[in-house]
Structure formats: structure tokens, C-alpha cells
């Protein structure tokens, strides 16, 4: 049934198609990919063929011409696949590394980077965080210096999703020694350039089907055409990018929480103790009701904020609130779900322990809970 004013019949149809794809082509392989620490490149290509990597991009860049909510559907449904890693990798491709190219890039950059990313032929990564700088973007040390028609980049990035195998990185650098926001610029850097290397693949608590790496830039030379947007405007561009990153992160958290809730509900209805399904014990039943309420509350907040976002209202207060609330909710729901599973919940044989591990990240990635609160406190005039 259409969910006004956010989703139409067409959206529902898309959701069914994605759900089917997830059930057939993702779910059966999740355990294997989690084990391997990555999923095959062929998934990007397949999703590109199906149009899933460009749902909300216009047709002229190879997208499906859908609205923002079609991307929300993808994030929600992918997060019900049984892991958070793969959906995160895809979200980096669709909603984190590529939006700045679409928004600030040249036609040539659309051709060289955006289109192949939407086709799934090139894997994209976004390079912001450094060993010494996370949310403090202004303090980053990766330096790009101009030499004639080229830029020479030196520095290290870390915690980079898709980092071990990205074909290009949307990279945040410092292009001036003047402190402050004006010295930041973005570049699109192909990873086959001389001087680029992957430091190490990072081992993580959760999100294990997504590869995470440290990237090293040692005198990497890129042509001036690879500067993304205007020199010195990178800070504002990346602040804009982060809004979309947080928005899609919230949508993912909703999907993940629904997945955990459904698992817990199903378990509570089938697991018997003291002669009855444990879900018939009042505290468990009420706990499930509270979990579902939290999900729905955050869903409404997320959709209402996404609605603004899709109408061009980039509202950092609402977006930060949404990201904070959804991420906290996602982990809380997974934690309560694990509790309902009892001892089984602690066993890798049951899927809930992974949901619990994976749901921990959204409270850190895209800006920690605490960073969200700092942003919000300024926005509400404290």
C-alpha cells in the first residue's frame, strides 16, 4: 500500500524487485562473504546492470531517474540481507563517494567516474578520515600541491570502505597551508596511479563482508582535470556530502533494525519455555512492542527528514538528529533482539550476533553520536 507522501505504487514495485534480488542473489552467500572479508566484484556489476546503483541519478548519467526515496528503499532492503557490510559498501558507491561527482563534477568527470560507478564497472571509495583526523575534517593533513597542470598528493587515509579494491577515490585534501576551510579541495584519484598503495586491509568487529583499508598516497600525480569542483571549496562540498551520507546511514539503520526485530519476533513465537512460546510472556511481548515502536518512531523521523532532503532542503539539524536517533535505535533494537535469543543469541550459528556487531558501527561512522550532538547543539542554539 502506498505510504503517502513518501512512497507510490512504483516504489512498492521497486521494493519487491529489490527484495527478490536480495533473497536470491545476496542472502545465500552472506555467510561466505562475511568469512572472506569481502563480496565479489561481480555483485557491483550485477547491481549496476539491474540499475540499482543509480536509482536516484538522472538518466543522462546512466541512472534510473528515480527520486531520493528509491535510494532509501535500496538501503532499507539491502540491510535486511543478513549483514551490514555489503549494504554499507553499496551505500558508499551510491550515496557517499559519487554524489559529489554528480553535484560538483564536470561532464568529463561524469563520463570517467560517475557513469562507470553507476554501471558497477568501477568501485568507488570516499577518502576523508586520516589516522589523526576523523570528524575534524579541517585538520586533515593529506596535501595536494600544484605543479603545472598536475597536482601531487601525499598523505594517508584510513577506515576507507571499499578501500582495498576501489578503482577511484573521492579524496579530501588540503591544497593550501592557510588553516581553515578555504584550504580544502576534493580530487578524484584513480587507484592505478603511481604512488598509490593500500597499506593494510583492516580487521573489524563487524561489517566484515565489506573491505576496509588504509590508503597511502606517495607523490601521486593527478591531472588538474581531476580536481572535483572548485579549488578551496572542498570543505563545503564535503559538508554537503556528509548530509547525504548520514541520511542514507539512517535509512540503512531502519532496515537493519527491522531485520533484527523480525528475527526476534519469529524466535519469540517459536521458542518455547515453561510450556509456552516465550513471546507470550508479558515482558517479552512488551519488549517487542517497544522495539517496534522505536523503529517506527525513527522511521517517521527519517522519512520526514528525507522528504525535506529530497526537496532540496539540506537541513543539518534534522539530518544529524535523524542519523543519531536511527543509529542508536538500530543498535538498541539489535541488542534487545539478542537478549530475546538468550544463549543462542551469543552463538554465531544464529544470525542475531552479527546484527548486533554490525549495528554498532552506525553510531561511529559518518560522525559519532557525540559529533552529531555537537552539531545539533549549535543548530538548536545552545
Amino acid at each position: 500500500m502506498p505510504y503517502e507522501p513518501y512512497f507510490t505504487e512504483e516504489h512498492d514495485q521497486l521494493r519487491r524487485v529489490i527484495r527478490k534480488f536480495v533473497e536470491k542473489e545476496i542472502v545465500p552467500f552472506v555467510d561466505e562473504w562475511e568469512e572472506q572479508g569481502e563480496f565479489p566484484r561481480s555483485v557491483f556489476i550485477r547491481m549496476g546492470e539491474l540499475g540499482f546503483l543509480g536509482l536516484h541519478y538522472p538518466e543522462e548519467v546512466g541512472g534510473q531517474g528515480g527520486d531520493y526515496f528509491s535510494g532509501i528503499i535500496l538501503a532499507e532492503e539491502l540491510n535486511k540481507c543478513g549483514c551490514g557490510g555489503l549494504p554499507m559498501a553499496i551505500a558508499v558507491q551510491t550515496d557517499m563517494a559519487t554524489p559529489p561527482i554528480f553535484k560538483f563534477g564536470t561532464k568529463d568527470q561524469h563520463e570517467r567516474f560517475l557513469k562507470p560507478a553507476i554501471q558497477g564497472k568501477k568501485i568507488a571509495a570516499i577518502g576523508i578520515t586520516e589516522p589523526n583526523n576523523g570528524s575534524d575534517v579541517m585538520g586533515i593533513q593529506t596535501r595536494a600541491r600544484r605543479e603545472g597542470n598536475e597536482w601531487v598528493i601525499n598523505g594517508t587515509k584510513t577506515f576507507i570502505t571499499n578501500g582495498t579494491r576501489a578503482d577511484f577515490v573521492t579524496l579530501v585534501t588540503r591544497t593550501s597551508d592557510d588553516p581553515g576551510p578555504k584550504g580544502i579541495s576534493l580530487f578524484l584519484v584513480e587507484t592505478d596511479r603511481l604512488g598509490f598503495s593500500v597499506g593494510k586491509k583492516l580487521d573489524k568487529v563487524g561489517m566484515r563482508s565489506s573491505d576496509t583499508a588504509e590508503l597511502i598516497f606517495d607523490n601521486v600525480r593527478v591531472p588538474h582535470e581531476n580536481l572535483l569542483g572548485e579549488e578551496g571549496k572542498g570543505f563545503y562540498q564535503i559538508m554537503w556530502q556528509l548530509q547525504g551520507e548520514r541520511m542514507i546511514g539512517a535509512a540503512g539503520a531502519i532496515g537493519g533494525a527491522e531485520y533484527a526485530y523480525e528475527l526476534a519476533l519469529n524466535y519469540a513465537q517459536t521458542r518455547e519455555a515453561f510450556n509456552q512460546p516465550i513471546g507470550n510472556f508479558q515482558v517479552i511481548a512488551h519488549l517487542l512492542a517497544e522495539m517496534k515502536t522505536e523503529i517506527e518512531v525513527c522511521r517517521e523521523l527519517t522519512y520526514a527528514t528525507a522528504y525535506r532532503f529530497s526537496n532540496g532542503d539540506v537541513a543539518p539539524k534534522e539530518i544529524s538528529m535523524t542519523k543519531l536517533a536511527a543509529a542508536q535505535m538500530g543498535h538498541w533494537v539489535a541488542d534487545r533482539a539478542l537478549q530475546i535469543f538468550g544463549g543462542n543469541g551469543y552463538m554465531a550459528e544464529y544470525p542475531i550476533e552479527r546484527a548486533w556487531r554490525d549495528s554498532r558501527l552506525p553510531r561511529i561512522g559518518g560522525g559519532t553520536d557525540e559529533i552529531m550532538k555537537e552539531i545539533i547543539s549549535k543548530q538548536i542554539g545552545i
Partner: protein, 391 residues
Amino acid sequence: MSHWIFSEEHQMFRKAVRSFLEKEVEPNIELWEKEGETPRSLYKRMGELGFLGIKFPEEYGGSGLDLIMEAVFTEELSRSGSGGVGAAIGAHTTIAMTNIWRYGNHEQKLKYLVPGIKGEAISALAVTEPGGGSDVANIKTTAKKDGDYYVLNGQKTFITNGVNADYVIVAAKTREKPTHRNISLFIVETNSEGYSVGKKLKKLGWRSSDTGELFFENVRVPKKNLIGTENEGFRYIMQNFQYERMTLALGCIGAAEKALELAIKYSKERIQFKKPLSEFQVLRHKMVDMAVDIEKARNITYRALYLYNSGKDCVTEATMAKVYASEMLNRVTDQAVQIHGGNGYMMEYSIQRLWRDARIQTIGGGTTQIMNEILTKQLGILSRPNKLQTQ
């Protein structure tokens, strides 16, 4: 930019209501709290301004506007800082009169809705009894037919506006069985013989609203005062619960906004260790948590409101809104007191009143536990009949 459910007109109305409340309600709250009631003059004044008949048809003196407009009023009324005034006015317009509007006939509307909308008559809804609150099916008050009358006997309690009401909508059993099809609603004028108000109940909060205990001793109510169809009362009450829950949730949002506003204001003025409290990160983050909590409650409530206003089923959403918003208000007001420190515990500061007023919200209109019981059914959580119960 505000939420999409509100139009330009809604926003203009919000401004008008807010400015009225700032001038004519806020300065008097303390006095009314001491007096233990909202004065009749306020009903009258709100009647003149059209605030009591927002959603009611123009032919009865209402404004014929949508429920979202009334929601704006409810939110703002609570935001003015008095749960008691909100309760008194809300019990009159959204809880009591709504029954006449929805299920009453033309004559009843002329006789009761018209003066109610003008603020000349105060109304109340009486369902709860000493022996039962949310367990509506088990009320004990009876109404027995006797010629052109029904004779009412029984007792009601916790009735908002119970002391001052000119007429009360009373739920009574019109037959023994079947359960859920044996309750009817009556309009009872409070000057009827056999009707009496027991003691005015003293409360922890909501003090500017009067709460009464009502006694019915062979009260003869003319047949024409039966609302809708006989024995359909349970259904009417249940239907109205959706709107009541939403209204309560809206009230919680308004009150929480006020509490946060007071906390922020205080934190900026209060200097400790040579800087305002607002510059201490833990307090700043605490206030952010409060703000986020409010936004969460707001969005689920607006969803329920939108569905209800479009005539769609919203039992789940309205119940979630009520349970979430009321728990939220308790968290927010408690933290607001905390930010006020010792001053927060003093009657001189109004935050203590918001905190006291908040406490009823997880109880009134169905407790949090009752809401969760409803949700377990709505969400299909109970898989099969409880074996222990069926044994």
C-alpha cells in the same frame, strides 16, 4: 521549514494562538494552579476567539476546519506551560464534545455543542470508575430504562472538569450482556436530581484543572439524551481513544518543547565556574538528547495525525505516539529539572510544574503498559493463545 503536514494557514493560526496564550494564559497560570481550576472566563474567551470549535461544523458555531488545525491548538496550549489548562480545555473540546459531534443528533448538537463551543457550558467525559480504568468493558454504572427516561446509578472518578462541568457524557451499562455491546453514552446535565460531585480530588500535578468524583443516584436522564445508538457506547469510546491518544501525544510534545526551552534559557543564564552551564558539554549533549527525543515523538505523532485526518486506520500509530510521547515527556522534564539544579526543586521555578504535570501522561488515557498490551495485539506478537491462560 516545518513538517509537511502543516500548510501556510496552519502556521498562521499557530502564531495567532501562541500570541493569545502568551498574553492571556501564561501570566495567569500560577494563580489558576493555586485556585485548583481553570476559570470559566477562559472558556468564554476561547469561545469568542473560536478556539473551542475548530473542527466542529459552522452550523453549530464551529469553524469547520481540519483536525490538523486543532492539533496546532493542542500543541500550543500545552507549550504555554500548563498541563492543567491543557487538560481542562482538552477534556472539554477533544474528549467530551467530540462524542456529541460524532455520534450525537442535530438536537443534541444544538443544545449542547453550541453553548460548549461558545464556552458558555463546560463539558466532561466520565468513563473511569473507582473499580476500573482502562478495563472499560467492566464498568459498573448502570442505566435502566423507565418510560421516557434512563435511570442512572453508579460512581465515576478521576473526571477532568468533573467539578465545574455543566453536562457530563457518561458511560453506563444498558444491559448485562454481551460484553462490548452493552454500554451506552448519555448526556447528563449536572443540575439533575440525584447527581452529585464528591470531593474535588487533590493531585500531584495538573492542578489548574479540576478533577472530580461523580455520584449518580437514580439520576433520571431523558431518552433523547442517549448519544447515538443504545449499546454502541463501547465502540464510540474505543473510536475516540485514537484521537484522544493523539491529542495527548500532541500535548506531550508541546510541554516538552517548553521544558527544553526553559532548560536552554536557564543553562545560558546560570554561571558556574565562570561560564554559563550551556558551555559544559555534558549539559549541552543532555539538551540535544532532549531535543532529539522530542523530534522522534513529534514525527510518529504527526504520522498518526495525518492518517487519522485522511480517514485511515491509525490504531497502531496513535498508540505508539501516545506511549512514546508520554515517556519522552517524563524523560525530558526530568532532565530539565536536573539542568536547573537546586532551583529546579523550588516552586519558584516553573520547571517543577512541568515535571509534575508530565507524570500523569504515562497514566492518563491508558497507561504505558496498557498501550503496550494494545500494541502486542496490533503487531501480532502473541502467536497463539496463552496456554497457561486457557488451561
